[in-house]
């Protein structure tokens, strides 16, 4: 099914800048095929693959990384203009006037994602070998991990919105399967459903966006839409932009579709790392950045993106301050960090590169911290309540050190990774005129301070202060299979930002795809002032956390807390709102309709049937089981009909 047509075959659907794929890039489909093969073998092979299946899955994931790495090296060998390549695969949907080939767009943006997904994803695969060692369904787990990676790679490599959709929901499916992996616990099964359904609300947006694109432009390929969007009115582009944003909100857990993310912690911890760092939640940011040509012509949609990002980054940060469950606190932090990326993506060309930059560095430090949290749970009998942690730095030195580097990175302490990426977003948010830079820049700045507080709270409550362990735990460091991936990610958390920032490497790398930073745009406050302000707020947040969660003793049960704390513990009442507005009315509506359908609409017919009821018992006598009498009846019927018709004629 993969007929490669390297040249000229489908010139119409190629973006102006993308050349037909040659060399290794013509094999980019292997990136998706390898992990998909892993999933298929493990799922279809059944128990026969129990022994070697997980290793096979790990191998498939790493081989995808190797392919991605070679594709990247090949891309580096070409100069900026000819780096993007297009791989036409086959004629996928020829439905009436809707003609679409499946193809892959291998450009700087997608390759960046490919490297992140396959590298971090593969590390998580390795870690899972240790983490899931004793799980009876280990094979199924690795099959789903492979499926996750395959779907995410399809998402970022697709050359059209429709093919992206396949990866988009594939990721949703994989997350559903993994969040509900231990679905013998009904709460976990509910969490999985919630994730899928909320994502489907987002998919509604993506579907409608595709519908508008085809009606307006007659095409749904990135290249085609990009070309046509130049001449489109802002009304159309705004509608598409808002619908794409709805899709992005679902996948990236942005306000108001954020509610699934916290519950998604039901999945085994490596899954959380995968969802939060390498796959899934980053997809929304990808979609917005990939659709930059839509948002260029739709400033209002852009503004909404920024607003959503700003709300979410504060929302997540506030919730993060109140959570005692280590994974839920990290989840809130992801929401908040993705909010930063969204905000940057909404700022336009000034922010696109930094959105992706932060996405990459975040991928490393957040994966590292989630794996660290998993390591802590591994050593603490799967407990997650930070109020029963404390003083773990002595018992789990590697976990403490690697987690610590992630913590410094997310705080944005120089020279660690987060500093280079997050600080740029804050600076970009302060660019503009009127009220916007002050509001959005202010939100980003305050968010940095709150982030410092809740992440330090998490770090101190877990690793420092007094031991508040329950009696039955004996914390121990995790095996190398788990700690080595954590160490690798910690190196990335420490250095990646610095390395990619030297000479603006990363920004100029992405420039051909997302456009360059226009000259002469400066933040409303001087950059050194912003950096100082940010660092001061961060220091304040850390100090406050130190006072309350390291120096002072932490109560083992949560105090009642202020009104805000209580609200934040309940995720600012997001579930209560959803239940009151959608769920309960929905339940009542379906119940009423079921009742009406059985009684009301069916009533008239039911009465008729009851009337026939008497007749039917007489009819039953006719059903004597003799085929010939049936045949006779049939014949009689046909004759009667024909006769009647003939008479009328």
């Amino acid at each position: 099914m993969t007929t490669l047509q390297p040249l000229a075959a489908a010139v119409t659907s190629e973006p102006a800048a993308a050349h037909a794929a040659t060399g290794i890039t013509a094999y980019a489909w292997l990136l998706v095929a390898l992990p998909a093969l892993g999933a298929a073998v493990l799922l279809l092979g059944g128990r026969r693959t129990d022994k070697w299946g997980p290793l096979f899955a790990v191998a498939m994931s790493w081989s995808a990384f190797v392919v991605g790495f070679i594709v990247w090296i090949a891309m580096l060998g070409r100069d900026g203009e000819s780096r993007a390549m297009h791989l036409d695969l086959y004629n996928w949907v020829p439905a009436g006037s809707f003609q679409l080939n499946a193809g892959m767009l291998v450009d700087q943006l997608s390759v960046t994602f490919v490297l992140l997904i396959t590298f971090v994803g593969s590390l998580i695969h390795v870690y899972s070998l240790g983490y899931m060692e004793h799980d009876p369904d280990k094979r199924r787990f690795f099959a789903y991990l492979n499926l996750f990676v395959a779907a995410m790679l399809l998402l970022v490599l697709a050359d059209s919105y429709l093919l992206l959709y396949v990866g988009w929901e594939g990721v949703g499916l994989a997350s559903y399967l993994l969040i509900g992996f231990w679905n013998y616990n009904p709460a976990y099964a509910t969490a999985a459903n919630k994730a899928f359904v909320v994502n489907r609300v987002g998919d509604f947006g993506l579907s409608v966006a595709i519908m508008i694109m085809f009606a307006a432009f007659g095409t749904v390929t990135f290249a085609g839409v990009q070309e046509a969007s130049g001449g489109a009115g802002s009304g159309v582009l705004t509608a598409i932009g808002l619908m794409l944003l709805l899709g992005a909100c679902g996948k990236s857990a942005q306000f108001p579709l954020q509610s699934w993310l916290g519950d998604a912690m039901a999945g085994p911890t490596p899954v959380s790392a995968l969802i939060h760092a390498a796959t899934m939640v980053t997809a929304g940011v990808y979609l917005i950045v990939r659709s930059n040509f839509i948002f260029e012509g739709a400033p209002n949609a852009q503004l909404v993106v920024v607003i959503v990002g700003a709300i979410t980054l504060l929302f997540g940060a506030i919730v993060g301050c109140a959570k005692d469950d280590i994974k839920k606190a990290l989840a809130a932090s992801t929401m908040s960090q993705i909010g930063y990326m969204m905000l940057a993506a909404g700022l336009g060309p000034v922010g696109y590169a930094f959105a992706i930059f932060h996405l990459v560095t975040h991928g490393f430090f957040k994966a590292g911290m989630f794996l660290g949290a998993g390591s802590v749970m591994h050593g603490m009998n799967d407990q997650v309540d930070m109020r029963r942690f404390g003083g773990l730095s002595g018992a789990m030195k590697i976990t403490w050190a690697t987690f610590g580097l992630g913590w410094l990175a997310i705080l944005g302490v120089p020279p660690f990774s987060g500093f280079w990426s997050k600080d740029k977003i804050i600076e970009a948010a302060f660019i503009g005129e009127g009220w916007r830079p002050w509001v959005f820049g202010g939100a980003a700045l305050i968010g940095a301070g709150i982030t410092a507080f809740y992440m330090s709270r998490l770090f101190f409550m877990t690793f420092h202060g007094k031991k508040r362990w329950t009696d039955d735990v004996h914390p121990h460091e995790s095996p190398l299979l788990m700690t080595v991936p954590m160490m690798v990610l910690a190196v990335g958390s420490a250095l990646l930002g610095l390395v990619l920032s030297i000479g603006g490497t990363f920004s100029s790398w992405l420039e051909p795809v997302v456009g360059g930073h226009a000259e002469g745009e400066h933040p409303v406050l001087p950059v050194p002032v912003l950096i100082t302000l940010t660092l001061l707020l961060v220091a304040g947040g850390v100090a406050l956390a130190w006072l309350r969660y390291w120096r002072d003793s932490v109560p083992e049960t949560a105090p009642t807390g202020s009104l805000l704390t209580r609200a934040a513990r309940r995720d600012l009442y997001q579930d209560d709102v959803n239940e009151a507005v959608f769920m309960r009315p929905g339940i009542h509506l379906t119940r009423a309709l079921v009742f009406a359908d059985n009684r009301g609409i069916d009533g008239g017919v039911g009465g008729l049937a009851a009337l026939i009821g008497g007749t039917s018992s007489r009819l039953r006598k006719l059903q004597n089981g003799f085929a010939r009498s049936y045949a006779l009846t049939m014949l009689a019927g046909v004759v009667a009909i024909l006769g009647a018709v003939w008479v009328i004629q």
Partner: protein, 509 residues
């Protein structure tokens, strides 16, 4: 081979099979299902062979044509022929037939005459299914349309569940009522036609210069019959009863194939013969389609009987099909016709896998399950795949058809398309809630050990799942057959696709 009566032969093989099965001596009664399976496979082989004779580039509307006088004084011919759509429908039916027979292997455990008749009736039904899609004479179509009811009536009424009588009579009443209305339309149409010995041929009745009022009345007569068959809201209530009381294999043929006659009829007869009336009725039909989508989905969410739930998902899915048909765009039409194919496999997988679970649990009530993923992991897996097809997961075949329906509808009717799109959220709810209630949770305590999926059951579901994946990633073979049929229909209606509304100057597409 060009004069070989392919369609007649394909229709006759199952009929001969039925006679053979029914006539088996009592000593060989236990061979009935094997004979039936053999005949169904033979039919499929001939069906595939016939399909290979079909040329997608032909300028004729119908191919594999056969025509003989039947009742010349009344204009009725025995005329068969297929376009891409009819061919796809027949092939779908022929693929589902052996699958259903294999799935029904142990449906009549008491054996003997009763078992023979069961399989014989199923084969008879296949004959009528081929006939109804292959008929190119309106009267012949009507005869098959009504004749189909007879085997179904007995299959439900004699072999169904506890309320089989009620369900069978209800099914018959609805269908007969629709059929009688259509009969009036059929006769009236003839009077406006050119008459003659072959005056009932579809080709003769296409493009008539009907008086507006007459055209609309006759259109209504046809449409009502098809809406009952499809079934659309508010004439859908027979379906859940029939589907839950019928044997699963019967339910598959009923919902998967026979109901398609409704949407097939809308395309072949309503649109082709009454283009003016079809467009006149469009606003109402679109409204009914959208209501069907939402209503069917909401009702599915509220069901506690798994078979009824699946039946209501079909009400929703048929809403999508009708929506795409009455969007009058090539994309919407291609989406709808592809949906008709995909829905056959989806429904089959859902009904049959659910039935495998029901047989093990001894109950159709969803609350009687729970935690069955730990009991029958294999069945749970295929049930989930079937469910994902039901919610049109991208990558599986129903996605392509559903999104094409929506995209094609949106080109002309924005609001109905957007409202219909909310159906995808509801679909996630009805499928995943069902899966959660039946499959997840702690492992239940069962009185006796339960077997996971057997080899026979694997053979039943494997081709269906293969169809999901193949047509999900490569729907082209089916679309190549369907596109010309849709295009021809829209030419009869006389509409062309709306041009993209904002294309940049000078761009090619």
């Amino acid at each position: 081979m060009s004069n070989f009566p392919w369609l007649t032969v394909i229709g006759l093989i199952p009929l001969i099979g039925a006679i053979v099965v029914a006539a088996l001596p009592a000593s060989m009664a236990d061979q009935a299902k094997k004979v039936a399976l053999g005949f169904s496979l033979l039919t499929l082989v001939f069906g595939v062979a016939a399909a290979l004779q079909f040329k997608t580039g032909s300028t004729q509307q119908f191919q594999l044509v056969e025509q003989h006088e039947w009742i010349p004084q009344f204009g009725v011919s025995y005329a068969l022929g297929v376009d891409g759509l009819a061919l796809v429908m027949i092939l779908m039916a022929l693929v589902l037939l052996p699958i259903c027979i294999l799935a029904a292997w142990d449906d009549v455990p008491e054996g003997g005459k009763r078992e023979k008749n069961y399989f014989a009736l199923t084969l008879v039904l296949a004959t009528f299914m081929v006939g109804v899609f292959a008929a190119t004479d309106v009267f012949l179509f009507y005869v098959f349309f009504e004749a189909m009811l007879i085997p179904v009536y007995f299959l439900i009424g004699s072999y169904g569940g506890p309320r089989r009588q009620y369900a069978a009579v209800k099914f018959l009443l609805f269908s007969l009522a629709g059929g009688l209305v259509m009969l009036i339309g059929v006769i009236a149409l003839y009077k406006y036609g050119p008459g003659g010995a072959d005056g009932f041929l579809v080709t003769k009745l296409t493009g008539l210069d009907l008086p507006v009022a007459a055209g609309r009345w006759i259109f209504l007569a046809f449409f009502i019959a098809f809406a009952v068959k499809a079934p659309m809201w508010p004439v859908h209530t027979w379906l859940p009863d029939a589907a839950t009381e019928a044997r699963p294999a019967t339910a598959v043929l009923l919902v998967g194939v026979l109901d398609k006659v409704g949407t097939y009829g809308m395309i072949r007869f309503c649109l082709q013969l009454f283009p003016e009336a079809s467009q006149w009725a469009t606003p109402v039909v679109l409204a009914l389609a959208v209501i069907s989508i939402i209503y069917g989905a909401l009702l599915a969410i509220g069901q506690t009987d798994v078979m009824r739930l699946i039946a209501y998902t079909s009400v929703s899915h048929f809403g999508f099909i009708v929506l795409g048909i009455f969007a009058f765009t090539t994309t919407g039409g291609a989406g709808s016709t592809l949906y008709m194919l995909n829905h056959g496999f989806t429904t089959a997988a859902l009904f049959l896998v659910a039935a495998m679970l029901v047989a093990r649990r001894g109950s159709k009530r969803i609350p009687d399950f729970g935690g069955w993923q730990r009991v029958t992991p294999g069945l749970a897996g295929v049930f989930l795949v079937a469910g994902l097809a039901g919610l049109a997961l991208p990558g599986l075949s129903p996605f392509v058809s559903e999104i094409m329906v929506l995209v094609g509808t949106f080109q002309r009717y924005k609001l109905p398309a957007v409202i219909a799109t909310t159906g995808i959220i509801l679909a996630a709810l009805y499928i995943l809630l069902m899966y959660k209630r039946m499959m997840t949770g702690p492992k239940p305590q069962l009185d006796r050990p339960v077997r996971d999926i057997t080899l026979r059951e694997k053979i039943v579901v494997a081709p269906l799942i293969a169809a999901f994946l193949v047509f999900g990633f490569y729907p082209k073979p089916a679309l190549d057959l369907l596109n010309p049929a849709v295009k021809a229909t829209l030419q009869h209606v006389g509409v062309t696709d709306p041009a993209p509304t904002s294309v940049a100057e000078g761009s090619s597409k």
